[in-house]
């Protein structure tokens, strides 16, 4: 699956109402560590069909960042049935991301 760009317009549809587990990648264009995580997430998205990965630009979606209490990026949030179940703040390795996603 490809990474889906999400903003305030399609957030409910792609994240809250998603039947699949969702990994939200909160990022920004000026954030170096976010750029490091980007290609890793693309690889994970390609290799896994059991999770949907979405990307949210915090500068363009400040309300979503606020709603999720994101004050530092990169921030990865795992959402299941519309609810946050896990998160990680800061740069992590591919293995650690896969652990975060879980089964």
């Amino acid at each position: 699956m490809k990474i889906i760009n999400v903003d305030e317009d399609n957030f409910n549809e792609e994240v809250i109402n998603s039947k699949q587990k969702v990994l939200i990648d909160f990022n920004a264009t000026w954030c170096g560590p976010c750029k490091m995580i980007g290609p890793v997430l693309e690889k994970i998205a390609e290799q896994n069909d059991n999770i949907k990965i979405v990307s949210i630009d915090v500068d363009n979606n400040q309300d979503l960042a606020k709603e999720y209490n994101v004050f530092s990026i990169p921030c990865l949030v795992v959402v299941k049935d519309g609810k946050e179940i896990k998160r990680n703040v800061g740069l992590i390795s591919k293995n650690e991301i896969e652990e975060l996603i879980g089964e």
Binding site: K35, S72, N95
Partner: protein, 299 residues
């Protein structure tokens, strides 16, 4: 068996790989996290010769592409120990054992923590170690910076442009920073100095909302949305310190050619005991360490 194993894929380690590979050696770089090291947090590098402006990410990615195109192998695995055997060296990761004739240590440094309760809990929820990374989340808010060196002052000055009030907390009454920064700091009206003070407690439920400051035997509470911690770096020496000589601050001791106390083990970059930790000195170390490692192998 590799000729040279480099531990750490920051600017020092990757430059060492560049030089070692160009000398026709079989090179492996082991990196615990992702290539680039701390430089990827720098939004704009302005002091690297020939690069008027380049982001840390772009710098690291260019160097990464440069060495992988040459055929350098980079594996994402955390090293847990190294061993110096009679005929070769062993590098152990969680799942694998690698052998090499020489090792270059380039693991760098990490942010020094305050080591007080709730610090980890509030990371990303008020606690930050990088103002340029996270400052924009605190537009028009009150924030604190703790520290008294160049980084702390730079962070306070940077945040003063974004935030309402910036409290700069320092445990002494004088800063150990460049005079140009101290002058700048003193000219900014929305930076308030809190001197001879230490942070006693971090308060909040879901996120940080205030901190307790201990000063003159009395405790004051500052309500704040963020605390930027800039109290220095710590060398990432855990896996080496039993066999490699380190100085009183934990940095690896070497001679002017990057040799450690063990023949065939070299050091490069921020983890090396030295007076200036900059991108240009990291790459310089990398070149030197690789050249010396090649000499050692060819002996």
């Amino acid at each position: 068996m590799y000729d040279i194993i480099i531990i750490g894929a920051g600017p020092a380690g990757m430059t060492a790989a560049l030089y070692a590979k160009r000398a026709n050696k079989k090179v492996l770089v082991l990196e615990a996290l992702n290539y680039g090291g701390q430089i990827i947090n720098t939004v704009d590098i302005e002091n690297y010769p020939t690069q008027e402006h380049i982001s840390g990410y772009d710098f690291a990615t260019k160097l990464y592409n440069q060495i992988t195109e040459l055929g350098v192998e980079i594996i994402e695995e955390k090293v847990i120990s190294i061993e110096n055997l009679k005929d070769y060296k062993k590098v152990n990761t969680k799942n694998n054992i690698y052998k090499a004739k020489a090792i270059i240590i380039a693991t760098g440094t990490d942010n020094r923590k305050l080591n007080i309760e709730n610090e980890d809990k509030f990371i990303g929820k008020g606690i930050s170690y990088c103002a340029t990374c996270d400052g924009s989340f605190y537009k028009n808010k009150n924030v604190c910076v703790v520290g008294g060196g160049n980084t702390a002052l730079e962070e306070a000055i940077y945040l003063s442009n974004i935030c309402n009030t910036v409290y700069l907390i320092h445990r002494r009454d004088k800063f150990r920073a460049d005079q140009i920064l101290i002058d700048k700091l003193n000219s900014i009206s929305n930076i308030k100095l809190v001197l001879n003070a230490t942070i006693n407690k971090l308060n909040g439920n879901e996120k940080l909302d205030s901190i307790d400051i201990l000063s003159n035997n009395k405790i004051d509470t500052i309500s704040t949305d963020a605390l930027f911690i800039a109290i220095g770096k710590i060398p990432m020496n855990d896996i080496f310190k039993d066999i490699i000589e380190i100085d009183e601050y934990g940095y690896i001791v070497s001679d002017k050619l990057c040799h450690t106390n063990i023949p065939g083990i070299f050091v490069a970059g921020d983890i090396r005991e030295k007076s200036l930790r900059q991108l240009v000195t990291a790459t310089s170390d990398g070149a030197l360490a690789a050249t010396e490692a090649v000499k050692y192998i060819n002996q």
